[in-house]
């Protein structure tokens, strides 16, 4: 029998939206990471990465929250989030946040170097091949801005999705355009956000795909909410749920079937 590699310890950064709104995404992430041979830890003092404060200009609160995240995730080999946005916050913005604080900067950079977005971690670090799953459906994938531009996640989810038996991927027009979520932006500038998500929904609906998937729950809640307001019949799932074969339950915003 060949030697099995030492299991990697992964601390899961659940993200606040997954924690509250869609725990199944975290369970899907855990399932995939375990399939890839990882041991999962969920540090229980985590709350949020601090983006709402950071993007509102509240640097003081952001620093306090970021310091708590740095503390909570100390010592783990890897930190993985099922979100490009939160992973981007930790790995790109924490070091910027503490640029004027040499001690914290070291800690922030150290955490940044261990932090990954889920799908790119599975692909790029673990070279993971998902367990054989089958799904007879068509799917369109939305590139979230932070996954795409901050975390350079573009081909990885498509490659992993291509391994799902029977799943047809249909690319939407203008797939790299923002969906209009933007955290508090979508509430403060709801009319502009509404126009942006409408364009996104037009392009998604035009694919006539059965499923919309993405790697960020913020975008998914925004797009699902608008799809449903417009009575478009497209099931909305996080890409981790699709890859983990957890597609039977209700999609975002759907009642129990």
């Amino acid at each position: 029998m060949s030697e099995t590699p030492e299991p990697k310890t992964v601390a899961l950064f659940v993200t606040c939206l997954v924690d509250i709104n869609r725990p199944s995404v975290a369970f899907a992430a855990i399932k995939l990471l375990e399939q890839a041979g990882c041991t999962i830890v969920v540090p229980d003092t985590q709350t949020c990465c601090g983006q709402p404060a950071y993007n509102s200009g509240d640097k003081k609160s952001t620093k306090a929250i970021a310091s708590a995240v740095i503390e909570a995730f100390k010592g783990f080999e890897y930190v993985v989030a099922p979100s490009g946005s939160c992973a981007g916050m930790i790995s790109k913005h924490y070091p910027e946040l503490f640029a004027d604080d040499p001690t914290m900067l070291v800690a922030a950079e150290e955490l940044a170097s261990r932090t990954h977005e889920l799908v790119s971690f599975l692909s790029d670090v673990l070279n993971f091949q998902p367990a054989a799953t089958a799904l007879d459906a068509s799917l369109t994938y939305h590139d979230s801005c932070s996954s795409l531009r901050e975390m350079k996640v573009k081909d990885q989810p498509r490659a992993l999705l291509a391994s799902v038996d029977g799943l047809e991927i249909r690319e939407a027009e203008d797939r790299e355009a923002c969906c209009g979520f933007g955290g508090t932006f979508c509430i403060k500038y709801s009319e502009i956000s509404g126009s942006m998500v409408d364009k996104k929904v037009d392009n998604i609906a035009a694919t006539k795909a059965d499923i919309l998937a993405a790697g960020d729950l913020g975008c998914l809640m925004n797009i699902a909410g608008r799809l449903q307001r417009r009575n478009e019949d497209i099931k909305v799932l996080h890409v981790a749920e699709v890859l983990a074969g957890m597609t039977d339950g209700p999609g975002l915003g759907e009642g129990k079937r």
Partner: protein, 474 residues
């Protein structure tokens, strides 16, 4: 021009309701972005060029005093004159003095954003000097008494039908009474009117895309050739430029130009690129007898050494707005001052004050596309964030927003309390949604539910479920 940035939301609301504006601004995608992508694809060294351009610009900004004086020396050697101006008022006065010397009745103008900043046209009109915009887009909006909605396509917001009506009314006085509906016929009509103006003008005013230190040249790029006629036919040429437009050498200017048109319109080069070096010499067949350069600071030097210094690299290509989903939704005028889109959101608070312009850096999802396409890699989202931080610190951010974030942060910093709140919140939303799985309208969340349903939480929070599972397993 009157600054209306504080009314950004109202402007956005109107623009979103206006079908013509929506059609017009969706054109930047098909018109510019697609072409840009094609040009970038064709040029493997595009990203290297960007790096070189960043280095050139950074070097200039760090040695601005040296290059500006170097530039002035060369202009003087060529027989021209340089006017140093700190403020818009100083720059306007300098222009006026030159116009008075030339006994100017009319001046022709090439397209220039800096003279928009200075509100030069209104000023000259008040002084009894008629300014005539010669760029077709600028000419259209001048006739309509409006201002640019895009920095390289100033009349982007106007439909063809609106231009037909405008020309029909405004060109009656030239005996042009036929209503033209064909775009080419409209262009020809404007051209015929403008031909006379070029010849009659006493002074020609242009901006400058670049100032070249080693030669004392000013450079403009245009697609209509109007700039050439503006600066070579009248007796006096005034080039107005902000101080950061300087590049050390001709070679540097050519590096910049390889990026500029590709980023702006998706052309390899603009149709006309014109270098002006001093007034007409003895053997020259044409050119102005007098050559003036107005160097304007107006707050730019204050950016040096700050976290917003990178803004001074801007080439004014418009790529950021061409790729901005917010700009495409709200159009140019909503931004309420000269520069719309991401560059406006990052620059205008400096120019017109944060209190006036606070919405601009806030009205962004930080999608990052502007930075991705900026030829000189200006970190626009980062600069917008700096403005948000300043806004928060100085309490320009409204109280409810600051308190809301403060309250949320209070809980986010206290995990045990946070668990309790999220547990209750998730359950409450679940119950509110009922069997439907989503919520149609929710008090205090009107911003969300006015445009979309709120997908309800699945029920228990992940942290609670995880804890339960762990307990079950042990």
């Amino acid at each position: 021009m009157q600054v209306t940035s504080r009314h950004f939301k109202d402007g956005a609301h109107e623009a979103l309701q206006d079908k013509d504006i929506q059609t017009a601004f969706s054109k930047v995608k098909t018109g510019f972005s697609v072409a840009r992508a094609a040009r970038v694809e064709e040029l493997p060294e595009f990203d290297d060029l960007r790096d070189t351009a960043v280095d050139i610009k950074n070097h200039v900004i760090e040695n601005l005093d040296y290059y500006l004086e170097y530039f002035e020396d060369q202009v003087l050697l060529q027989g021209g004159k340089v006017h140093w101006c700190n403020t818009y008022a100083e720059a306007r006065d300098a222009v006026l003095e030159i116009c008075r010397e030339a006994d100017a009745k009319t001046v022709t103008k090439g397209k220039s954003m800096i003279t928009e900043e200075m509100a030069l046209n209104d000023f000259l009109s008040e002084q009894g000097i008629e300014p005539i915009e010669t760029d077709l887009g600028e000419y259209i909006i001048q006739l309509a008494h409006e201002y640019p909605s895009h920095i390289i396509a100033p009349a982007l917001h106007k439909t063809k039908d609106q231009v037909t009506e405008l020309f029909h009314v405004k060109h009656q006085k030239y005996g042009l009474t036929e209503r033209q509906t064909d775009p080419q016929a409209l262009v020809n009509e404007a051209r015929n009117v403008l031909r006379e103006k070029y010849v009659a003008a006493d002074v020609g005013i242009t901006g400058a895309n670049f100032l070249i230190a080693e030669t004392g040249s000013t450079v403009i790029v245009t697609n209509e050739g109007n700039g050439d006629l503006t600066q070579s036919l009248p007796d006096t040429h005034i080039a107005v430029a902000s101080i950061e437009k300087i590049v050390p050498t001709l070679e540097d200017a050519s590096t910049m130009m390889r990026l500029l048109a590709r980023s702006a319109t998706g052309q390899e080069m603009s149709v006309y690129t014109t270098f002006s070096t001093g007034p007409r010499r003895k053997d020259d067949i044409d050119g102005p007898a007098k050559f003036h350069v107005i160097l304007l600071d107006s707050g730019r030097s204050e950016l040096i050494g700050t976290d917003k210094q990178d803004l001074l690299r801007c080439l004014k290509c418009g790529a950021c707005m061409n790729h901005c989903p917010v700009y495409q939704a709200v159009g140019g005028h909503s931004y309420g001052w000269v520069y719309p889109g991401p560059i406006g959101a990052a620059l205008n608070p400096q120019m017109v004050g944060l209190e006036e312009a606070r919405h601009l850096p806030n009205a962004s999802t930080f999608c990052g596309r502007c930075e991705e396409v900026c030829p000189v890699r200006i970190p626009l989202p980062k600069i917008m964030r700096h403005w948000r931080e300043k806004s928060f610190e100085t309490q320009v951010t409204p109280k409810p927003e600051r308190w809301g974030i403060g309250l949320w942060a209070f809980f986010a910093k206290r995990p045990a309390l946070y668990r309790m709140i999220t547990r209750c919140g998730a359950m409450a939303l679940r119950i509110a949604a009922g069997k439907k799985g989503r919520i149609n309208s929710l008090p205090m969340m009107g911003g969300w539910t006015s445009v979309r349903d709120l997908p309800a939480p699945q029920g228990k929070t992940f942290m609670d479920q995880w804890k339960q599972q762990k307990r079950g397993n042990s």
